[in-house]
C-alpha cells in the first residue's frame, strides 16, 4: 500500500502532465484551424491545374513524343514512394498508420520483384523506416512546417528532387503516401500516383458548360505540357504537405484531448485513494489512543 506521501507526489505529477497535455491540445487546435485554412486556400490552384492538365493531356493524347512525365518510361521496375509524416510524435496513430501502410506497400512491391526507393518527409517517418528499409531511403526532409505554416518553396524542393531523379532515370513510377484530412478525429491514409501523371476521367460537366471548345495553344501543346507537368508535381506535393499537416494537428488535438481526460480520471481515482488512506490512518491512530487509555 502506497504511503500518503507517495500518493501526494503521484497526484502532483499527474496534475502537471494534465497541464501539459491540455496546453498541447489548445496549441494543436489553433494550428489546426490555420492549416485547415491553408489547405482550403490551396485547393483552387490544384483544381484548376488539374482541369487544365486534363484538357491538355486529352489534346495531346497518346501521341508520339508526349513528355515522359505523362507517358511514363514504359516500365514499372523501380518505384519511388514519397512518405509524408510529422516531425514530432504525440499525435495518436498519425505516424504509425502511415508507416504501417508504407511498410505493407514496400513489402508487397519487393515480393513482386520491384526495386523500391523512399523519400521521407518528416522526421518520424524517416526514423521508423530507417530500421527496415534504411538502404532504400534516397532523401529525407525535416522541418517542412515553419513558424508561418508551410511554404510553397518547401514543396518545390521535394518536387525538384523527384524530377531530378526521374530525369536521371532513377525510377519509373512515383506515388505519394499521406494522411488525407477528413475531420479533426479522422484521417485517411491515401496513396496517390504522381508520376506518370494519371489523367483524370473526363467528367460530364465539362461538356455541359460548353467549355470543351477548341483551345489555341501558345506556344504549343507540347511546350505547355512540358512546362505544366513538372509544376503539377510541385502542386501535388504541396497539397499533400498541407493535408498531412492539417491531419497531424487534428490527430494531435484528439490524442491530447484523450490524454487530458484520462489524466483527469486518474487524478480523481488517486484523490479518492488518498482520502481513504488518510481516513484509515486517522481511524487507526484513534483506536490506538482509545485502547491505550482503556488499558490504564
Amino acid at each position: 500500500m502506497a504511503s500518503l506521501k507517495d500518493l501526494r507526489s503521484r497526484i502532483a505529477s499527474v496534475k502537471s502532465t494534465k497541464k501539459i497535455t491540455s496546453a498541447m491540445k489548445m496549441v494543436a487546435a489553433s494550428k489546426l484551424r490555420r492549416s485547415q485554412d491553408a489547405a482550403e486556400a490551396a485547393r483552387p490552384y490544384a483544381d484548376r491545374m488539374g482541369t487544365m492538365l486534363g484538357r491538355l493531356a486529352a489534346a495531346v493524347g497518346g501521341a508520339q513524343g508526349a513528355p515522359k512525365l505523362l507517358a511514363g518510361t514504359g516500365k514499372d521496375d523501380v518505384h519511388l514512394l514519397v512518405v509524408f509524416t510529422a516531425d514530432r510524435g504525440l499525435c495518436g496513430g498519425f505516424n504509425a498508420s502511415i508507416i504501417k501502410a508504407t511498410r505493407i506497400k514496400v513489402r508487397a512491391l519487393r515480393a513482386a520483384g520491384k526495386t523500391v526507393k523512399l523519400i521521407c518527409v518528416g522526421r518520424k517517418g524517416a526514423d521508423a523506416l530507417k530500421r527496415e528499409f534504411g538502404d532504400a531511403i534516397v532523401a529525407r526532409y525535416t522541418g517542412v512546417e515553419g513558424k508561418k505554416g508551410i511554404d510553397f518553396s518547401a514543396a518545390t524542393d521535394v518536387a525538384d528532387k523527384v524530377l531530378a531523379l526521374y530525369e536521371e532515370g532513377e525510377f519509373d513510377v512515383c506515388s505519394i503516401f499521406y494522411n488525407k484530412f477528413v475531420s479533426a478525429i479522422s484521417q485517411v491514409v491515401t496513396e496517390q500516383q504522381l508520376v506518370p501523371f494519371a489523367v483524370p476521367e473526363a467528367d460530364g460537366q465539362e461538356e455541359a458548360t460548353g467549355s470543351s471548345a477548341v483551345y489555341e495553344y501558345e506556344p504549343s501543346e507540347e511546350a505547355i505540357l512540358a512546362d505544366l507537368l513538372p509544376r503539377n508535381v510541385g502542386v501535388q506535393i504541396f497539397g499533400a504537405m498541407l493535408e498531412s499537416s492539417a491531419s497531424e494537428h487534428g490527430a494531435r488535438m484528439s490524442a491530447m484531448d484523450n490524454a487530458t481526460r484520462n489524466a483527469g480520471d486518474m487524478i480523481d481515482r488517486l484523490s479518492i485513494q488518498y482520502n481513504r488512506s488518510r481516513q484509515a490512518q486517522i481511524t487507526n491512530e484513534l483506536i490506538e489512543i482509545i485502547s491505550g487509555a482503556e488499558a490504564l
Binding site: 530525369e167 467549355s211 489555341e216 501558345e218 505544366l228
Partner: protein, 134 residues
C-alpha cells in the same frame, strides 16, 4: 455597362483575385496579349512580368507574376501564377538583392539542373526590376 470578363488570379497558397475586369494584359511567353470579354479560348504559358488590369480605359492595377500559365475562354481568364505581388509592393533594394543572389547562384551552379534554376531566378529578378522602372 461595359462588357467584362472574369479575372482569376490563383497562386499555390491562395485564390488572390476573382473579379470582373474590362481588360487585362498578360505577359505571355510569345509576347504580351490583351484579354477582352469574349476572347477565343486559348492556353498560354507566362514569362515573368507584369499583368495590367484595365478599368475605364486606364491601367487600374499592376501585378507582378513570376511565371505561370494562363487559360482564357470567352467568360473568364484564369491565371495560375507561382508568385504574384502588386508592383507597388515590390521594394527596389529587395529586387536588387534578389538579382545579386541569383547571379551568385548562377556562378556557383555546377549541375545543369542548378544552372537552369538559377537562370530562371535571374530572369524573374530582372523582370522585377524592369517592372519597377516603368
Amino acid at each position: 455597362m461595359t462588357d467584362t470578363t472574369v479575372l482569376e488570379l490563383v497562386s499555390p497558397s491562395a485564390l488572390l483575385k476573382s473579379e470582373p475586369v474590362e481588360m487585362v494584359v498578360v505577359p505571355g511567353t510569345d509576347g504580351n496579349f490583351g484579354v477582352l470579354p469574349k476572347h477565343s479560348p486559348m492556353i498560354s504559358t507566362i514569362r515573368p512580368g507584369v499583368i495590367d488590369i484595365y478599368a475605364g480605359g486606364k491601367v487600374s492595377e499592376r501585378i507582378f507574376v513570376a511565371g505561370g500559365v494562363a487559360e482564357v475562354n470567352p467568360e473568364r481568364c484564369t491565371i495560375l501564377a507561382e508568385e504574384a505581388v502588386p508592383v507597388s509592393d515590390i521594394k527596389a533594394d529587395e529586387a536588387q538583392a534578389r538579382l545579386e543572389t541569383a547571379q551568385a547562384d548562377l556562378k556557383a551552379a555546377t549541375t545543369a539542373h542548378d544552372k537552369a534554376n538559377a537562370e530562371r531566378a535571374l530572369e524573374v529578378a530582372r523582370a522585377q526590376i524592369a517592372a519597377l522602372s516603368n
